[in-house]
């Protein structure tokens, strides 16, 4: 049985063998835990949770930005 993982920006899907901890999944994908959320359905999945087989999770990047600034701060 496999855990389905949906990635964003760009959107793509992959499957990993479960059960697996969130921390281990992010390490396998070389993703910084500071830069993403892991979401199942409409709920957050904690960093120490174990992902069961048959679960679908979204790994959502949280970094955004460009020129959102006031008074000349963010520039490319």
């Amino acid at each position: 049985m496999l855990v389905k993982v949906v990635l964003r920006n760009p959107r793509r899907e992959l499957e990993v063998r479960g059960p697996k901890s969130v921390t281990a999944l992010l390490a396998d994908l070389e993703l910084n835990p500071e830069s993403v959320l892991v979401i199942a359905g409409d709920e957050l999945v904690a960093r120490d949770a174990r992902l069961a087989d048959d679960l679908t999770v979204e790994i959502r990047p949280v970094i955004s930005g460009g020129a959102v600034d006031v008074d000349g701060a963010a520039r490319p």
Binding site: G65, G66, A67, V70
Partner: protein, 308 residues
């Protein structure tokens, strides 16, 4: 992982606070941090009319929601940037939130109201799209607030934004920008007060807040910002933060407490030297303001550029 407050199951950790939270206490954590920022920096007074700069992304919608939770009534202003599907989707998120929460949302569309788009401006002026975007937002949010009698423009800049901007300004020792980098820019002739109530909350916390509150936001990154320097600074800081939690907060708060005042005097004297733009009336040190110069360059560009 258990909630630091109630010992129930936690859904998110905040490592710089050495804490974890259940959904209810995480929302309270966010409210507490915004309340503290507003109080600490005297951002908003009870009688102030507040305008939130709404993009449809996580930060601005979370800010709008958090202010309401603190009984701060605020209207929103969405600026249509003309960035294809990205803008088309972003405005839908902004409208949906406003409709669902019975909030007033104003809209200004660059293409329809001013005759250019951000991609078109970048092409016509050969400047970066993020530069043209930042300049346009800065000018138009302030002008709207001043024209409509809002005392305060609140933006969704979070701790990660401030840390990345600070890193960029320090790497270039850009003393003018360092003097202006503060959670509050006070009001003056022609300027509404500008405040950043999310300065004590990280980007990951804002995304988590939206998920927990059921706020549907624009998840996709702006296609014009992909690969820009600001995002590179954020990635670098997150790599440090992962190994040493609290670094970003120490960097920003330390600057505000011990560094900002060293650069602020020059900025104060800059503001006292401003005069109305000869074209639009906005305060400027140069006769014609940067936004009007941008529009002029767009209008002078070949006719197939500017509105693409």
């Amino acid at each position: 992982m258990k909630c630091t407050v109630c010992r129930g199951p936690a859904v998110i950790d905040v490592r710089r606070h050495n804490s974890a939270f259940c959904p209810d206490h995480f929302v309270k954590h966010c409210q507490d941090q915004v309340r503290k920022a507003i109080h600490e920096h005297h951002m908003i007074e009870p009688a102030d009319r507040v305008l939130v700069a709404v993009s449809g992304g996580k930060d601005s919608l979370a800010l709008w929601d958090l202010l309401a939770g603190l009984d701060v009534t605020a209207d929103g202003l969405y600026l249509g940037l003309g960035i294809g599907d990205y803008s088309d989707e972003s405005v839908q998120h902004a409208r949906a939130y406003a409709r669902a929460h019975d909030r007033a949302l104003h809209e200004v569309d660059l293409g329809a109201d001013l005759g250019f788009t951000i991609p078109g401006a970048a092409e016509a002026t050969h400047r970066s799209p993020c530069g043209a975007c930042g300049l346009s937002k800065r000018h138009l949010f302030n002008r709207f607030a001043v024209d409509r009698g809002y005392d305060v423009v609140a933006t969704g800049h979070n701790l990660d934004d401030e840390a990345a901007v600070l890193l960029g300004n320090v790497l270039r020792w850009d003393v003018g920008y360092l003097g202006r980098q503060h959670p509050v820019l006070p009001a003056s002739e022609g300027f509404a007060r500008k405040v950043k109530p999310l300065v004590r909350l990280g980007e990951r916390e804002m995304a988590a807040y939206c998920v927990m509150r059921g706020i549907d936001y624009q998840v996709e990154e702006c296609p014009m910002a992909v690969g820009n320097r600001h995002l590179g600074y954020k990635e670098a800081l997150n790599a440090i933060e992962d190994r040493s939690p609290g670094t970003k907060a120490a960097f920003v708060y330390g600057f505000l407490e011990r560094g900002h005042h060293r650069f602020a005097e020059d900025v104060a004297s800059e503001r006292s030297d401003l005069a109305p733009c000869t074209s639009c009336g906005a305060p400027t040190p140069d006769g014609v303001c940067a936004f009007c110069k941008l529009r002029d360059r767009i209008e002078r560009a070949p006719s197939d550029q500017g509105t693409s």
